[in-house]
Subunit: 357 residues, 3 copies
C-alpha cells in the first residue's frame, strides 16, 4: 500500500500557532457579481433598494447598485475561516465592524487578519484569539474592517500559554467614525422607491418595531448561502462535525435573514454603516422559522451632513414564534445576559437613513 502521510490536507491553525502581531493574507480572492446579488436576494428575501435598483443607487451618486453590506461581510469573513477558525470551538463575538467603502459588481474582495489578542483558557486546552480583519478591494482599499474573537482548541496541550493580551474594543462605533460614501447625496431621496415615508427624523430612541413577516430557513437555503459565502466551516455542511448532531445554520446567514425581515418597518435604512457587537445567542437549525424585532437604541446626526443621519438599532432574531414583548428577549442577572431559548440573534448595529429636507 501507499503511504498515507496526509501532509497535503490542511490542518488549520490551533491556539498555540497564533502569535501576537501575526498577519494572515487569506486565500482565494473573490470577484463579486450580479449572480451573487441575485442569489443573496433569493436566499434572504432582501429588498433593500441600493442593492436592487441600479437607477436609484446611481441617482444618489453611487457608481452603480452596491453589493449588500452583509453579503460582502460574509464573503470576507468566510475567507478568514481556513486560517483563523477552522479549529474553533465557538465564535465569541464581533466588534468595531465598519463598512468603509461601497462594493460594486466586478470588485474583487480579499481578506487579511492580524492577531491582536490572545488568552489561554484556564483548563489549558484552548484559548481565545482576537483578530483585527480587513476586507480589501482590487485597488488595495480597505472596504470593511472588524475585530472578531474565537475560542480555538490547542493541538499540543504541552505548548506554553502565551502572555495574555486582551485588546481594548469600542462598545460602539461613534458617529464621527461612520463612513458616508464619497459623493453620495441623500437630499433628493424619493421614498416612493422604498415604499415608506418614514425617515431618520421619524424614529425615536426607545421605539420598538415588530417586523410582521417570518421566514422558515430550510437546509438548502442556509447551506447554499454558506457555500456562496465560501465559508468552509464544517459544522454547517456535515452533521457529524456539529456538536448538535445536525447541521448548524451559519450565524451570519441568520443575521442576513433578520436584516431582510426588518425591511418592513425600516425601509429607508439604506445601508449598514457599522456593527457594534452581536451574539448568536442560541443555535438555528434547518426548518426553524425566524422572526425579527428592532429597538431603536440611539439616533445620531452625522458631523457635517444634514441630509443623512444614523440610527443605532438592536435587531433581535427569534425562532418558532415572535416575542410578545421585546423585554422577554433577555434578562441580565448578576451582570450576565441570559437569553430566552428562542432568541437566536441579538445584534447591535448602525444604519444610515436619509433625513427630511
Amino acid at each position: 500500500m501507499q503511504t498515507n502521510n496526509n501532509s497535503k490536507s490542511p490542518r488549520g491553525n490551533f491556539f498555540e500557532d497564533f502569535k501576537m502581531g501575526m498577519v494572515f493574507h487569506h486565500a482565494t480572492p473573490r470577484t463579486v457579481s450580479d449572480g451573487d446579488s441575485s442569489l443573496y436576494i433569493a436566499l434572504t428575501g432582501a429588498r433593500q433598494v441600493l442593492h436592487s435598483a441600479q437607477p436609484v443607487a446611481h441617482a444618489m451618486g453611487y457608481k452603480s447598485r452596491t453589493i449588500d453590506d452583509l453579503l460582502a461581510f460574509h464573503i470576507a469573513l468566510g475567507k478568514t475561516v481556513p486560517d483563523i477558525s477552522i479549529n474553533a470551538i465557538a465564535n465569541l463575538g464581533y466588534a468595531q465592524v465598519q463598512f468603509i467603502r461601497p462594493i460594486y459588481v466586478g470588485d474583487t474582495i480579499s481578506a487579511k487578519s492580524t492577531v491582536v489578542g490572545l488568552k489561554q483558557n484556564s483548563d489549558g486546552k484552548s484559548g481565545i484569539v482576537y483578530v483585527q480583519c480587513e476586507a480589501i478591494n482590487q485597488d488595495h482599499q480597505v472596504v470593511i474592517s472588524w475585530v472578531r474573537w474565537v475560542m480555538v482548541r490547542k493541538s499540543n496541550l504541552d505548548s506554553p500559554a502565551p502572555e495574555t493580551v486582551i485588546p481594548e474594543l469600542d462598545k460602539v462605533v461613534d458617529a464621527k467614525n461612520l463612513h458616508i460614501p464619497h459623493n453620495v447625496e441623500y437630499n433628493e431621496f424619493d421614498t416612493q422607491m422604498t415604499g415608506s415615508a418614514f425617515l431618520w427624523d421619524d424614529y425615536q430612541v426607545g421605539e420598538l418595531i415588530n417586523h410582521p413577516s417570518g421566514m422558515t430557513i430550510d437546509e438548502s437555503d442556509h447551506t447554499l448561502a454558506t457555500k456562496l459565502y465560501q465559508n468552509p466551516a464544517r459544522l454547517h455542511f456535515d452533521a457529524s462535525k456539529s456538536t448538535y448532531g445536525k447541521r448548524l445554520v451559519f450565524g451570519g446567514h441568520v443575521m442576513s435573514v433578520c436584516r431582510a425581515l426588518s425591511y418592513e418597518g425600516l425601509e429607508n435604512a439604506l445601508s449598514i454603516a457599522a456593527i457594534n457587537g452581536g451574539a448568536h445567542s442560541n443555535p438555528t437549525f434547518g426548518s426553524d422559522t425566524i422572526y425579527a424585532h428592532t429597538e431603536v437604541l440611539d439616533k445620531w446626526e452625522i458631523p457635517g451632513r444634514s441630509d443623512v443621519g444614523a440610527l443605532r438599532l438592536r435587531l433581535i432574531g427569534v425562532k418558532d414564534q415572535p416575542l410578545r414583548f421585546l423585554s422577554e428577549a433577555s434578562t441580565t442577572i448578576e451582570g450576565r445576559r441570559n437569553y430566552h431559548p428562542n432568541v437566536v440573534l441579538d445584534l447591535d448595529y448602525t444604519v444610515l437613513m436619509p433625513r427630511r429636507a
Copy 2:
C-alpha cells in the same frame, strides 16, 4: 419599558382603503440581471432558447437574450403585493396580461397599479379589488400590463361599502393586440436551435400534448423563487400565516414550472405574448410533483406578418400524477367549473411561434 406603538411596521391596505382611480407607484424598483436568469433556469428547468442563447436572440433582431417573460411578470407582480394584496384572502384572477416589450439584462422594472373595480362582499367583511397594473422599464416604457383581482379583508367593518364597479375584461387578448417585438424577424429561424421541427403551421386547434417530464417542487425551490421575485406574501414563507398549516407554493411559480415542462412539445413557442386568464385551481405544496398538459385552443395569423403566428394554449398543471385524459381536468356543472383535486393550474395563454417559410 419603551412604548411599542409599532407605527413603523407597515399594515398594508385593507378593502376600505381602496378607492376607484387610486394609483399606486410600488416600491423597490428591480434591476434584472444575468444572475436572475441563471437562477430562474435553476429553479424551473427552463430551456426556452431566447432566454438561454445570446447569439440566437441577437440573430433574430433582439438587442440581446431576453429575460424570461414569466420571470419579469413575477417580479413586477411581486412589487404590487405590499400595497395591493398583503391583506388578501385570495388571488381571484388575472386578465389581459400583455407582454409589450422585451426585457433585457440591466433593465430596471418598476410597477404601478390603478384601482379599476371594487365590490364589497355580501358579508361586509371583505371585498374584491380590481387593479390595472403596469410594469415599466427605466426608459418609462410599459413592458407588461395586466389586470388582477383579489379578495381583501376589511379592517374596519363599519366602513361603508363603496359603489360597486366591475370592469369589463376581455376574455382573450386579440391577435391584433399582440405585440411582436420591433425589428424581430422569424424568417431565418433555425429549428436546430430548439430541437423541434414543429412550427406554427404544424399545430392544430384541438390538438393535445402530454408533456413527458415531471418535476418535484421542494420547499427551498419555491421559497427561493418567491424571494427572487421579491414577493413578500407571508403564506409562502411561514406556515403559521397559511390557512393550510403549511407553506403554500406561489401560484406564479407553478405557472413557471408548467411552462418549463411544456418545452417538450412546444420547443418553438419562443415567447409569451399574452395571458388571457388563469386559475390556481388547487393549492401546491412543497414535495408535490407537477406534470403538464397542453391543449391548442386557437391558432391565429398575426396581421401583417407571414413569419410568425400565435397559438392560444390551455396549459394544465397537475400534481402527483399526469392526467390520463385532459377531459378529466375539469367539468362544468351549472356553469361553474369543477376541478379535479390534483389540477393545480389552468392557464389560458398565447405564444408566438415561427411559421414555415
Copy 3:
C-alpha cells in the same frame, strides 16, 4: 373529445434509431454567465481560484476568470441528453474528456455528437451507443471533447441488430495531448491566492489525501444544479421515473461536489485538463453526505513547459462516512472491480498545477 395523437411530444431516440456516423447538432445553445458561476459556487462550495478571482486569472494571461471546467462540461453534456440518453437505461462511461480551450462569461456553448460505436445486447432489448461529443463556442471552436457510452432501450424489438462496432478508446489522455491555455503563464503564480504552498513538485505518485470536509446533498441542491445544467433526464426530478423509487442525484453533480471537497489538499490544481475515465459506482440520493479521497496516480511534465505540470489523480467519493483506507474503495476479483457499497464515484482525471520556479 379532441384526438390525442401526442405527435408533438418528443420521444427521443431508441437503440434502433442510432446508425454509425450519425451526427446530432443538439438543441438550445447556452450562454454562460456570472449567474451560472455564482450558482455553481453556491451549489458545490467550489473555491478554485481561476473561477473565483478575476485579477488572479487575468494576471496569468486568461482573458478573464473562467467558467468552472465541470460546470461547462455538465452544461454541454446536458445538451446531448434529449437526443442521446433520454431513453437510456444506464450511463456506462466516459473517456478521452479533453478540456481544450477556456470558457469565459458570455460565451455560448453548443454541443454536437457523432455515433462512433454500436453493440446490441444479447437479449435483443437494448444496446450500447458510443458517441464522440464536442462542446463548441460561439466562434465555432471546440472547447471540450469527449466520448461517452450509454445503454439505450429498443422501442421496436423486431428491428435488426446493427453491425457491432466498438471504438478504440484511450485509457488515459497523454501528457502531450493536454491543452495548456494559450498565453497562460504559471511562472509568477502566487500561492497566497490559494492558501497552499504545495506545488506540482511536492506531490508524489502513490500519495493519498483524505480531504477533511464532508457535504450533505439535499434534494434542492442537486435538482437546482441539474436544472442549471439544463439536463432534463427525468429520474433526477421525478421519483416515479427512477428505478430506485426516489430521485437519483445526477452523477456529474457528485463529481462536482467531490472536486470542490478536494480543494483542501489540492488548492493549486488550478484547472482540469482531462478526464480519463470514471464510474458512478453506487447511486447518490438526497440527504447523503459525501466525503472525498484522492490518490496521485501519475505525475507528468508538460512538453515544452517548465512552469506547469500535470497530475493524474484518482478521486474517490464516498457517502455516509469517509473511508478508513483508500484500499477499501474497491477490490478487483477475476478482473472485475467491486466497489464498497458507500463508494459513489471513482474518477480518473488530470489537473494542471504550477511548478516551483
